[in-house]
Assembly symmetry: C2
Homo-oligomer: 236 residues x 2
């Protein structure tokens, strides 16, 4: 895969402590707890946990990219979302994982057994409060990500994904930084709910319209943030 750079930095991008803003370092009790655990490394395309397996661990990712997905009875794959450094996985599941998590690029993660987390939570109000915050955040970002897409055309969905990725990396489109797409067109299609071909055509269209530029399929420069935003946010 288009990997090899395994960027491992210590900065952790996530929402602020419990509020809203982005690309800030999270330092809640749960983050600190997880970062004290031992780290596991995954090569690309490895399964981190599998749907229907007992949900016996939670994860905090330190580097790499992870996709969470499941399958429709007809065989179509639904990608629920992508996880980046600073994101948690496993917090919201019940007895069993309801999604499969797979590394898309080489990934490092802190992991904590769920049983331990439960014990710690029952003794620490701070930890439990932090957990509530994280769940709320996850719920909000889930809503922000999926709801609007249900009402948007293909081009707009692609624009929205690019904006999300850019925001995560703190890219505003003014400086020369590129958005690195660690996932394949197929991953993107299964996330956006459109076909691979339509994803391609959308990228081509965005390039033609000079909203973005790219040297290779996985490096995208945002050339016109204003128009890309208004497309992605649903202005048009």
């Amino acid at each position: 895969m288009r990997v090899g750079h395994a960027r491992f930095d210590d900065r952790i991008f996530d929402e602020t402590s419990c509020g809203s803003a982005n690309s800030t370092i999270r330092t809640g009790p749960l983050t600190l707890l997880l970062r004290a655990q031992k780290m596991i490394r995954f090569a690309s395309k490895q399964i981190i946990f599998h749907e229907d397996d007992p949900a016996d661990a939670v994860f905090l990712f330190a580097s790499g990219t992870v996709g969470q997905y499941r399958f429709l009875p007809n065989g179509r794959r639904l990608v629920a979302g992508f996880l980046f450094p600073g994101d948690f996985a496993g917090l919201s599941f019940g007895e069993r994982y309801s999604l499969t998590a797979q590394s898309i690029a080489p990934t490092a993660a802190y992991s904590l057994p769920r049983a331990e987390l439960n014990v710690l939570c029952s003794h620490s109000t701070a930890l439990q409060t932090d957990l509530v915050c994280l769940l709320k955040q996850e719920l909000v970002s889930e809503r922000e990500a999926h709801l609007p897409m249900l009402h948007q055309a293909a081009h707009a969905r692609v624009a929205r994904l690019l904006l999300m990725l850019a925001r995560r990396k703190g890219i505003d489109g003014c400086n020369g930084e590129a958005v690195q797409l660690t996932m394949t067109r197929s991953d993107i299609a299964d996330y956006l709910g459109i076909s691979v071909e339509t994803v391609c055509r959308s990228f081509t269209k965005l390039k033609e319209d000079r909203l973005i530029a790219s040297s290779s399929p996985d490096r995208i420069w945002i050339k016109n943030m204003a128009r890309l935003s208004s497309l992605g946010e649903g202005q048009e």
Copy 2:
């Protein structure tokens, strides 16, 4: 509107204590706490809380139907979901509501100031655990509701909504009970992310194919649960 029947019963339909199953009475601490609060009644089409207002109360609905929505910049309305007796609202918001809640039918709700809830939570592990459970549930059901729809055709989305409503009412399609649609075609369209016309055509198609029957637009009988399920779940 198609109102006037204001069915007010005391039964509360919701997921089990913290697990998964449906149409069971919830008796968690939070539910009990809310049910001890004073009840507010809303006529149809009243705003219960408004997007961007300070989120200073949580609600447990006892009767009626509520729609939660917000608007895209282009003016399209996104209906995030419908709330029924036994459902909570307001648990997942931060400082401000991120959705507007409006009664679709005459509605009764127990309400508790958020500040009070916070105090109570900080003194009761049971309450906080229950809150975590509810948030997890909300997250799971949000995912179950919206993710697959992103990948489904219009007919399947309508089928999915009918299945969801039937499940909420404990209707399995064998006995003669009808699904009562308290929301308008427009509400449904804005929830499913399709146009009103397509919603109509889907209902017509489902009737032609004898998956459902109806005497009036708001009363639907499920005639072939097997086929409706396989359509809604994404078998085809």
